[in-house]
Symmetry: C2
């Protein structure tokens, strides 16, 4: 069979040649996958209008549906394209399981069943695939979920980058459970379960882009057991969200917009590991925008903040949990950071792409 | 940020350099995505041992789970890497919806909720993405399903091929419903809902690989309404499966193995459109191994065969339904074709890759 034309020889994706190239603004750029403003614009422009329905429009980590009157399901999906496939503290397999488990947990659901769709590049070593799948199984076992359906596609050499994994997940929850990004209320406490930026910097270090040998491990972990313990401790949890792509700042912005509230955080309350801080200074990154894969933002009624902190700190993945701020009436849809020198800085959503292929 | 090393400079997928290359047999080849023997071997070797559980091991189009005593769910996933993205009769968007809808329908489930995970290549025209998403929505509407969760990742130019789409799906079914590949019984009738090979040949023609201007359209369609009508007509349907990658021959082999029965089909009963037959002769393909995206194999108790044929023919996607053979005791796990000259030919599973990136 003839090889397809080289990319340079075609202009459209349909095999046809388009004599007038489209302007760059009409093309996908890396920032469309950033978790920041460009990605939100793409979703608002290209995905929501045609696919619109109330579940998708809610814009949460998982869609919640009611297949029968007494069963409420949360359904989520995540594709994983992290490079390299292995990095300190984890790999694409562990990431693929934890990403979807955490999206379901963030809806207050109990993750139950996962699917795994593999896109493999011709030439991938089977040994690499097998290590990744073994890592998926270990993470699934830790989370207590089962992979119940799978799919494998292979594309020609150069048409993928080793392997990509999509996982989708189904979780069950108590009917009427409503923990989601639109539930934050003025006065609520804002809790963060540990240090930020570890995952993003660990992946960068695996790429050899730090120029130094920093001992930074990704925090990638399944947070569902920790979330379950927290839900046991308090019925006043309003929002849970894992600050992945786009980092803590983007996640707080999403919540502020969905809930139409302001969020004020204290700069000196946000934990950043010293090695992550140094790496960020070296590279000119702000850790507030660097991805995490094992942290959760918890927004809870103020009277239950201590109960939640206690429950979190009893879990291995929540030992570093701290109160970082509070929800306020105004400015609606904005996030402010009270800096160490006492001034307020607006934390905006990330525009464009900070670190491509971090998850 | 530094560009990653060129593929030639690295040997392993981990960013490390491996001085001794692995033998070719230990690497992924295109045939691992074929739907045939190599893919089954890969699943048996690399996916099943670590991820093993009864639902996955059943090897059906969707996993069936029971989240609460009175709700039975079918869960399925499919990644789509078809090239080109648009072809006569369909596109990657319609394919992505129909593929998962049909996998759920093939389990006797009512498809309800879908997720969509996009992997976009940097440089993709937004206009292309929007046409694809519009096509997904049209297919979802036709099928009566909702996309309730989505995800977008972007990879660098040359690390994907326009776009790949994963869809996962959740369907509901009557508890106790057991239509699956292991239910075929000797004496059962084998029905095919129409002509074979249309999808594969339509995609090849869109690649310009036929060398002729054949007017062949893909059959890609959501079959769930047709399946529902058939289930209404008969309670004796034992197996449903859509003969996608690997074609009719591979699908019949899967069923023969799962049910531990023989299957005998009549060569002259299997409908092939004249244009598909000519294209296959030209290219040296056997239409029995060419992919379909809008057909179903139905295995039903013989006394209900006519009722099922009638129900199928009343649906626009089943007008060409015909009886093509029967299930027999022996040879267990094998498929035989009675040829037009009266001899029997063993229809084996496809080994290697006939047509890469057909779905």
């Amino acid at each position: 069979m003839a090889e397809r034309e080289k990319p340079e020889e075609r202009v459209t994706m349909e095999g046809a040649v388009c004599p007038v190239p489209l302007p760059h603004s009409e093309r996908i750029v890396l920032g469309h996958g950033s978790g920041g403003k460009l990605m939100h614009d793409l979703i608002a422009r290209s995905f929501l209008p045609p696919l619109d329905n109330p579940v998708l429009r809610a814009g949460n980590d998982a869609g919640v549906v009611l297949p029968t009157p007494d069963t409420q399901l949360a359904i989520s999906t995540d594709s994983h394209v992290v490079w390299p496939l292995f990095f300190p503290g984890g790999d694409i397999g562990r990431l693929a399981i934890c990403g979807t488990v955490n999206d379901l947990a963030a809806m207050g659901a109990t993750p139950r069943y996962l699917t795994a769709g593999f896109i493999l590049e011709e030439g991938l070593e089977l040994e690499v695939l097998e290590r990744v799948v073994a890592s998926m199984q270990a993470a699934a076992e830790e989370a207590g979920v089962e992979v119940v359906a799978g799919d494998t596609k292979v594309v020609q050499r150069g048409k993928a980058d080793g392997l990509y994994i999509n996982t989708a997940g189904v979780g069950t929850q108590t009917p009427g459970m409503a923990i989601n990004g639109a539930q934050a209320q003025p006065g609520d406490a804002v809790i963060l379960t540990g240090t930020i930026g570890d995952h993003g910097i660990a992946v960068l270090s695996a790429r050899g882009e730090l120029g130094i040998q920093a001992q930074i491990e990704s925090d990638v972990a399944p947070l569902n057991h920790m979330v379950a313990a927290m839900l046991e401790a308090s019925e006043q949890i309003h929002v849970l969200r894992d600050p992945t792509r786009g980092g803590l700042a983007s996640t707080l912005n999403e919540i502020a917009k969905q809930s139409q509230v302001g969020i004020v955080v204290q700069e000196d309350a946000i934990p950043v590991a010293a090695a992550v801080q140094s790496a960020c200074e070296l590279l000119g990154f702000d850790p507030l925008y660097v991805a995490n894969e094992g942290k959760m933002v918890v927004i809870v009624a103020p009277q239950d903040a201590n109960k939640v902190l206690e429950a979190l700190r009893a879990d291995r993945y929540g030992e570093g949990a701290v109160l970082i701020g509070e929800v306020v009436e105004e400015p609606k849809g904005r996030v402010l950071m009270k800096t160490v020198i006492g001034s307020h800085r607006v934390l905006d959503v990330l525009s464009g792409e900070l670190l491509p292929r971090i998850c």
